[in-house]
Symmetry: C2
Subunit: 350 residues, 2 copies
DNA sequence: CTTATTCTCGAAAACGCTTACACCGCGAGC
DNA sequence: GCTCGCGGTGTAAGCGTTTTCGAGAATAAG
């Protein structure tokens, strides 16, 4: 028994305190130290205090790898997003990571870049690192991949894509309501020819928004006659720019447009101005998401706020329910939206 | 010896393949399997093939926690940024994570939010997760914290804050050059009264940019007379807005301004327009960073491009040199900048 | 044909923690 | 007076790898 590894070979990482040193110092066994650390009620209060004292004195903190190996829990929460570069996501990541941290979880972020191979790799990483739970905030997700997680009993939470089930939750954003208030806002301003800059068709949430738009319009007796009035802006600035140009080229161009997200709206803003028109005098535009930037476009963008921080927190809550409380059921909280009226919309005139 | 843990208690995570099963399947010892996995040249090619075959058949992948525990290496790279919500960072995170992934590292991101407590916590997390290396892309970093990492021989790389040393690298951005070309650009357009919207004073890089600005101007014989011509925009949109308003209120307002970052410039853009003036006809503005958004402001922003992806890749390279190649020295690559001329600058007239 | 090398490989210790199980007083119940 | 239960604690097995050490076979050298 020639222990003392750290003495033999000064491994990378240097000498690090182990639970044994704490045990020795506190004059107890390693088991008791472990129990004290986990606030196990079975250890005598006095003993526990002695242990904590030693811990502080030695500036000890447990080796997470050993801990994970022994306990089977990694205390890592996975978060998969489509594109961290999209301004929608950083706040989401931040909120999630923060909530996770509060519960003692580290967050492993993966950005799929809308790419199947990367997505698959992302799941693989979650599996390898043995994430205790995974939040999947992207829709490009193969069934087989989530099956892999399901098989291993990894709790999951989705954003608007899956049905809740065992260990699976889903956040449902009330897009219909959001789109509805936006459209009604436009209608109440007197607009009748309203265009829509949709998102990529393979994105469920984008489809939902478009459907909601269409339905809302026909409910108001304004059903779209020209199908070209809804056109794909790809949820990106340049896509929005192009899409808006198409709308402007129409014989009967819209007097107002609703964009499927703010990036698209920003592109539209530029296209309109480039065409020599003014917002909101000539055309009103409303976005969707309310990214931070929306308040600083020119003019400031009227948009439907999608509460990212709330989404993030709810998402982690869902996971925590399964991870910490050991519940097996999934839930489906509804996320509300809110119209933020700024200066890119105005009454229709002329 | 009652092994079969996975049979006894179906732990969370389900039955997971272990190296022993592979060994059994390939008719070798676990040691050989381990060696085969690591492409150890000492294992016979034929045996290795047999092992790999078994691995594929069983869909086996190693338990990272066991691996980390035994090897002392976590294959986790830490990345600490000040604010992931700041559009400057997501690209950085993305680039870093990507580079890391290619070398088999997962990235643990921490956002300090410019807060000392959080920063301290971030370091702690890196320590606990035993990150093999840490990239520190924020300047609010206490000496004592980095000492903690240094003690444990964790390689580090900084962005413009530290001196390189043992296991410590530093990326040096050539701000002087960037600011220089921007100022010369403005001067060549005929501008003589040039204002500066600086960043927060506690940020080293912000100070450097301001100094460079001042020096560059005096080199050109245009030394600033009115100290109010350089004012703090806080590196944020609203800060830039306010700062620009202060500049506009001056008796002799500038005909061009250089902002310490793009966010500030965007705020300035709005302030100028709000004051009823036009960019670039009345005032030219140039930003710094070239965030994605800069191409889509109105007008598109002339700015100094700071290559974030390159920074990210270089940063990881620096760490990898120490982590993988085992070199002990640090380096200090210089990161160049490039002026991107768009439409927010124009010749001075009248 | 023996001895020294080189190749391959296996046994088993070690990594640092968790946890099932055993154990040891000690007051309570009969 | 003896068993029972229980709060507290220690012992040691086990988590799934990596890695040292040495053994055996095969090859090279003498």
């Amino acid at each position: 028994m020639k222990h003392r590894s750290s003495l033999a070979i000064p491994r990378l990482g240097g000498t690090s305190m182990s639970i044994r040193e704490v045990a020795k110092r506190a004059n107890v066994s390693t088991a008791t130290v472990s129990r004290a650390i986990h606030h196990d009620s079975r250890v005598n209060a006095e003993t526990a205090e002695r242990v904590w004292h030693a811990i502080r004195e030695l500036n000890y903190y447990p080796n997470v790898h050993a801990r994970s190996l022994a306990s089977g829990r990694s205390h890592i929460a996975g978060l998969i997003v489509s594109d961290i570069t999209n301004p929608f996501f950083p706040e989401l990541v931040q909120g999630f990571a923060e909530a996770a941290l509060e519960s003692g979880y580290d967050t492993l972020v993966a950005s799929t870049n809308y790419d199947a191979a990367r997505t698959s790799l992302a799941i693989r990483r979650m599996l390898e690192r043995k994430a205790d739970g995974v939040a999947i905030m992207t829709s490009e997700m193969d069934e087989s991949l989530i099956a892999e997680l399901k098989n291993r009993n990894v709790p999951m939470v989705f954003l608007d894509v899956a049905e809740p089930g065992r260990l699976i939750s889903n956040l449902r954003v009330d897009y219909a309501d959001g789109v509805g208030t936006a459209v009604r806002h436009l209608i109440s301003l007197g607009h009748r020819r309203i265009g829509f800059l949709s998102g990529p068709d393979n994105l469920k949430s984008a489809r939902v928004r478009r459907e909601a738009f269409l339905e809302c319009l026909s409910n108001a007796g304004l059903a779209i006659e020209d199908p070209r009035m809804v056109t794909d802006g790809g949820h990106r600035i340049d896509g929005g720019f192009d899409a808006m140009q198409r709308l402007l080229a129409l014989d009967e161009r819209p007097t107002a447009v609703l964009a499927s997200n703010d990036l698209t709206a920003i592109g539209a803003l530029r296209a309109i101005r480039t065409a020599g028109l003014r917002v909101p005098e000539d055309i009103s535009v409303v976005g969707f998401d309310d990214i931070q930037l929306a308040a600083f476009t020119d003019p400031p963008l009227t948009t439907v706020r999608l509460p990212r921080t709330e989404i993030a927190e709810r998402a982690f809550e869902c996971l925590a329910r399964n991870m910490d409380l050991g519940q097996e059921d999934g839930t489906e909280p509804v996320i509300g939206t809110k119209l933020v009226v700024r200066a890119s919309t105005a009454p229709y005139h002329r």
